[in-house]
Structure formats: structure tokens, C-alpha cells
């Protein structure tokens, strides 16, 4: 019996040490779900690409409710995942609390900044990408009115809206921009019915290009835009394929690259904590052109947008960041 115990103990030790040696990265998919065709799906795609290219393995869980954040984060860290990637600004306060308890584990947070020695914070210059799609919207509009549907009313989404408005006004300061937020609770990310209804209200006010930065709610916005025969602009993932001919472009946010890089740098032992900004220059944000929408974007439009892009990169045009001042200079 004692021999048996020894064997079992040895086996367990081997298993444990193996686990430590091959620390797998972990990914916590946020509310909204893995296949939201948007933010979370992009992160998942990045993780899958990493698996395909490196043959590695990673742990993954999906949050079901707001209350699970801390528990899920802790469990992931305790299971030995390293780094643990969390998605979305809503995790910031939880991570602030959890990270110091696991000094040996690295964390990556996308879309927010957490100032802890073992946390890598990845933020995107959404305002710059939104500025460019705003320009496209302004140029594509015939009615002189364009609109914006946000998900949950939070500073991050205001940042999208503010960049968009600046881009539209850069084309023609006379163009009116209608802005609506879906709600103030996380369910605002998942209400396509309300998204569609908001879009209809905007269309009746004259809008003929709508930009959705609203996660799953955006599916309803894009659908209604296609039904009513106006243009729409997708967000986060490339959504051009959803309704070819109606989706003008998508403001692509390369969350997939962020996740891939976090996984890969950890695997190579080059993981760096601190703040990383993914902007136009590093192609962290971009406007998507592919076979589904190339007919909608004229040479004139793309020339103007490319020029603005270079000017933003060189610093000649400065796009105001809503989160810097909690206000937007234009409406």
C-alpha cells in the first residue's frame, strides 16, 4: 500500500511539474459571447490562429454573468494559466484587485489600463479608426445626416462616437450626426431588436449611413440598414460580408492580433507588462476594404481617407480622444 502511495505521489508530482513547465495561456471570453461577430469573436480568432500556427494549447472560459468575473479570473490563475488574457474595460476594477494576489502570473487586459507590475494593458486608438470611417460615412451620405448606434453608454463607446463625429465633420461641418446609445446595462450589447428600432428612428430623421459600435446589438443595426436600403458601418471584426452592398466598411480593431501577440510573446518568454497602444500606425485599428465593399468605396473616397490616415500617423491631424477629457469637442 505504501508503495502504491509512493507511485501515486510520484505520478502526481510529475504531472504537476509538467503543468508548471508548460504554462498554457488562458483567455477569458467576456459577456457578449465567443461568436458575437465582433469584439470577442476577434479575440477568439486570434487565439485560434495562435493554436494553428504554433500547435500550442490554451485554456478558455466564457463569462455568463457580471458576478463571475473575479471567480473566473482567480480560477484561471490558480489552474496555472500564464498569461491570463481578459477582454474589455469592465474587467479593470476586478483585475486591479486580483492581479496583486498572483504575482507569479502575468495578466493582459484589452481595452483598459490597469497599473500593476504583472499586468499588460492593451488599448486601441478607436478614435482614429472611427475618424476614418466617419470620413467615409460623410462622403457616402446623400442626405447630409449620418448616425451612430452605441452599445452600453460608457466612455469607451463615447470614444468611438467622438472620433466618428470628428471624421464626419472633417468632410463637411454641415453634416448632422445623430447619436444613440442602446442602454446603460450589459444587456445593451445583446439587443438587436432595440438596435434595429434605434436605426429606424434614425432613418426617419434622415440618416443614410449608420455606424454601429454595439457588439451583438450591431447585428440588428446592420440588418435594419440592409432592409431599409441605407449604408451601415460594422465594428471590431470585419463585418463587410454580413450584408454585401449595404455595409460600407468596418472599423476593424485587431483584438485578434493583441491576443495572438500576448500568447506568442509569453511562449517566447518576451512578455512585457505595461501599456501598449495599438493605433493606425501599428495597424491595431483600420477600416476594412474587401471584395464585399470595394464597389462602394470610390477612388476619391479612398484617396481622401488614405491621406487623412497618413496625416494622423504623422501627427498633422490630431483626433480628440474622448477618454482623455471625458468630453467631446464636437456634437
Amino acid at each position: 500500500m505504501t508503495l502504491m502511495h509512493k507511485f501515486l505521489g510520484a505520478a502526481a508530482t510529475v504531472a504537476l511539474s509538467a503543468g508548471v513547465a508548460m504554462a498554457e495561456p488562458g483567455l477569458i471570453i467576456d459577456l457578449g459571447g465567443k461568436f458575437d461577430k465582433s469584439f470577442n469573436e476577434s479575440a477568439y480568432t486570434g487565439a485560434q490562429r495562435w493554436v494553428e500556427e504554433t500547435g500550442g494549447d490554451y485554456m478558455e472560459t466564457e463569462l455568463q454573468s457580471e458576478a463571475q468575473r473575479e471567480q473566473t479570473m482567480r480560477r484561471m490563475a490558480e489552474r496555472g494559466a500564464n498569461p491570463v488574457v481578459v477582454l474589455g474595460f469592465a474587467n479593470a476594477s476586478t483585475l486591479e484587485k486580483v492581479a496583486p494576489d498572483y504575482p507569479e502570473t502575468n495578466f493582459t487586459i484589452v481595452d483598459s489600463v490597469v497599473d500593476q507590475p504583472n499586468v499588460q494593458s492593451i488599448v486601441f486608438s478607436e478614435h482614429e479608426g472611427s475618424y476614418l470611417v466617419g470620413m467615409l460615412a460623410g462622403m457616402a451620405s446623400d442626405t447630409g445626416t449620418v448616425s451612430f448606434v452605441g452599445g452600453m453608454d460608457v466612455p469607451l463607446i463615447r470614444k468611438f462616437a467622438c472620433g466618428y463625429v470628428q471624421g464626419v465633420k472633417a468632410v463637411d461641418p454641415e453634416i448632422e450626426v445623430i447619436q444613440n446609445m442602446t442602454g446603460t446595462t450589459p444587456s445593451a450589447w445583446n439587443d438587436p431588436v432595440k438596435g434595429g428600432e434605434l436605426t429606424r428612428a434614425q432613418i426617419s430623421q434622415g440618416s443614410d449611413v449608420v455606424y454601429a459600435a454595439a457588439g451583438g446589438t450591431g447585428v440588428g443595426v446592420l440588418q435594419t440598414a440592409a432592409d431599409e436600403g441605407i449604408y451601415s458601418i460594422g465594428v471590431d471584426s470585419n463585418q463587410n460580408y454580413l450584408h454585401p452592398g449595404s455595409v460600407l466598411t468596418s472599423m476593424v480593431k485587431r483584438v485578434d492580433n493583441a491576443v495572438y501577440d500576448a500568447f506568442q510573446s509569453a511562449a517566447e518568454g518576451k512578455f512585457e507588462t505595461g501599456v501598449q497602444v495599438l493605433d493606425l500606425e501599428s495597424e491595431g485599428v483600420a477600416y476594412a476594404v474587401d471584395e464585399h465593399n470595394e464597389a462602394l468605396i470610390t477612388d476619391e473616397m479612398s484617396a481622401a481617407v488614405e491621406e487623412a490616415k497618413q496625416k494622423i500617423i504623422s501627427g498633422e491631424i490630431e483626433v480628440h480622444d474622448y477618454t482623455a477629457t471625458d468630453s467631446c469637442p464636437v456634437e
Partner: protein, 332 residues
Amino acid sequence: MDFLTIIQILDSTIRLATPLLLACLAGLFSERSGIIDIGLEGKMLVSAFFSAAVAAMTGSVWIGLCAGIVSAVLFSLIHGLASITFKGDQLISGVAINFLASGMTVLIAQDWFSQGGRTPSLSGDARFDSLDWPGAVAMRDAFRAERAGDGDPTGLSAIYWDMISGHTILVYVALLAVPVSWYVLFRTRFGLRLRAVGENPAAVDTAGVSVVRLRYASILIAGLLTGLAGAYLSTGLAAGFVKDMTAGRGFIALAALIFAKWRPWYALWACLLFGLLEAVGNRYQNIELVGFELPVQFMQALPYILTVVILAGFVGRAIPPRAGGKPYVKER
């Protein structure tokens, strides 16, 4: 605010009120027979999923609608089995139905379509098209032509071509369900017994009428109506199912039911009022009242605030059916 804007808001009101109205009438039948039903949300959700899923697979929205209704009726039967046959707690059974629907729909959707708990986007015959009433399109074109020219049309015709015409068939079914419900509940023998069984089941039983059968009948009607409500959400308003897409509408319907004091016509007005508030909130997210700006959060909370205010006594006491929530035990 011009006349056309008002019409557009009313048009939106009708669309938004329809799922509430169907769910509210479902609750009405159920609660009038003494079965508290907080599982309206779950039944709508399960119907929203199955109607969208089956419509996506078969390409026919009608088959989808049938599947949605069948699924909602099955969920009603689960509720009935727990709360009528086994005399369980109706609230707990209702909560369980909500949880079951929320989890099950996503799980099945993921298994069938592998799109993360949603159905593929529906198009063509897999969705309910809007019905254009005779002459509506011509009137709309005439209006637009006049506006595009130098004319200044009053837009009175918009009442017809925008507000009345151009909804999906389920909207008209929902509106029609109000007088039908009223007739069934207040002008038929079945309705009298159904109301009696919610007030005093022992008396009905003494008269030789089966309490259990009446309650099951009312629950089946509730299943049918929530089935329509769910199908309308996913195949009429939206084009496909997404996780938890009912977004609390089942609970708003319950609030409307209390507000309506368990009466069909009042239910119509209550649901239209909630729909109107939502439509106004969508259209005007910030309203200026005498130099004082109401924030968007206030507009979105308004239906709930209103419910509390109303229930606090502004419309008089709302008295529920007396036997509501209590399982009927024949003999001790």
C-alpha cells in the same frame, strides 16, 4: 416636433408594443385561472429560438412559427405539470423555466449552427414580410413626390401608410387577440369558469367542473400567445435569434398586466403606453424640459419608474385573482 415625427413614433410604438401585448395576454389567461406565470420571458425566448432556427433550416417562416408555438406550449406544459399536477410552487417553476430557456436555447443553437448561440441571419421567406395595405405604397409615393417637389403635404395620409399599414401579420394578430380575449373571458361559459377557477377553485370543483382541466387549458393558451410573441421577436422584428434576445420584455409584460388589472382592453393600453415610452426614449435620448435636461438613463428607466408609481396607488388598487399562486388541493 412635426406631425410626421409623431406618426413615426406611433409606428415604432406599435412594433415595440406587440411582443409585450402578446405576452401580457398570455399572462392574463394564465393568471386569471390562478396560475402565476413569471416564465413568460423564458417561453418567449424558447419560441424566439425555435421559430428562427426552424425557419432558417426549412426556409419557411410559417413552419418556424409552428415550431415556436409548439416549443412555447411544451414549456407551458412543464409549468403546468409542476404547478398544477404536482402542486409545486408556481414562482419557482416560473424561474426555472426562465433559466432553462436562457441556457438551453444557446446550447442547442451552438450545437446546430456553431455560431456561438445564435441562428444564421434569416432572409426572404424565412422572415415575416411587412404587409402593405391596399393603396398604401401609392399613397406613400405620392406623399414623397409632393414633399420632394415644392408642395408642403400635411402628412395626414401617413397615419394610413406608415402607422396602420406596413407591419408584419403578427402585429395584426396581436391587436385582434385583444377583442378575442375579451370575448372569450367575459362572454363565454369557458371564460366564466376560467375566471371563477382563479377566484375560487373549490366552488368550481363543487359545480362539477374540472379545475385541473381548466387550468391546463388556460396554460395552453398562454403557451400559444407567448409562442407568437417570441416568433415575432426573432422572425418579425429581428432577423434571427441571439442569446437572451427577449431582454426583459416578459417582465415588462407582467408589469403591464398588473397595471391593466388583469383586463384585456386595459392590457392593450398598458402595453401601448410602455411601447410609446420606449419609442420616445429611442427617438429622443435627451429631452429638454424647461431648460432642464433629462438624461437618457431617466428615459430608459421611465417604464419601470412608471410601474412603481402606478402600482403605488395612482390607478387604484390592482387586485389579483384571489386564488393566484395557490395550487388547488381537492381534499385534505
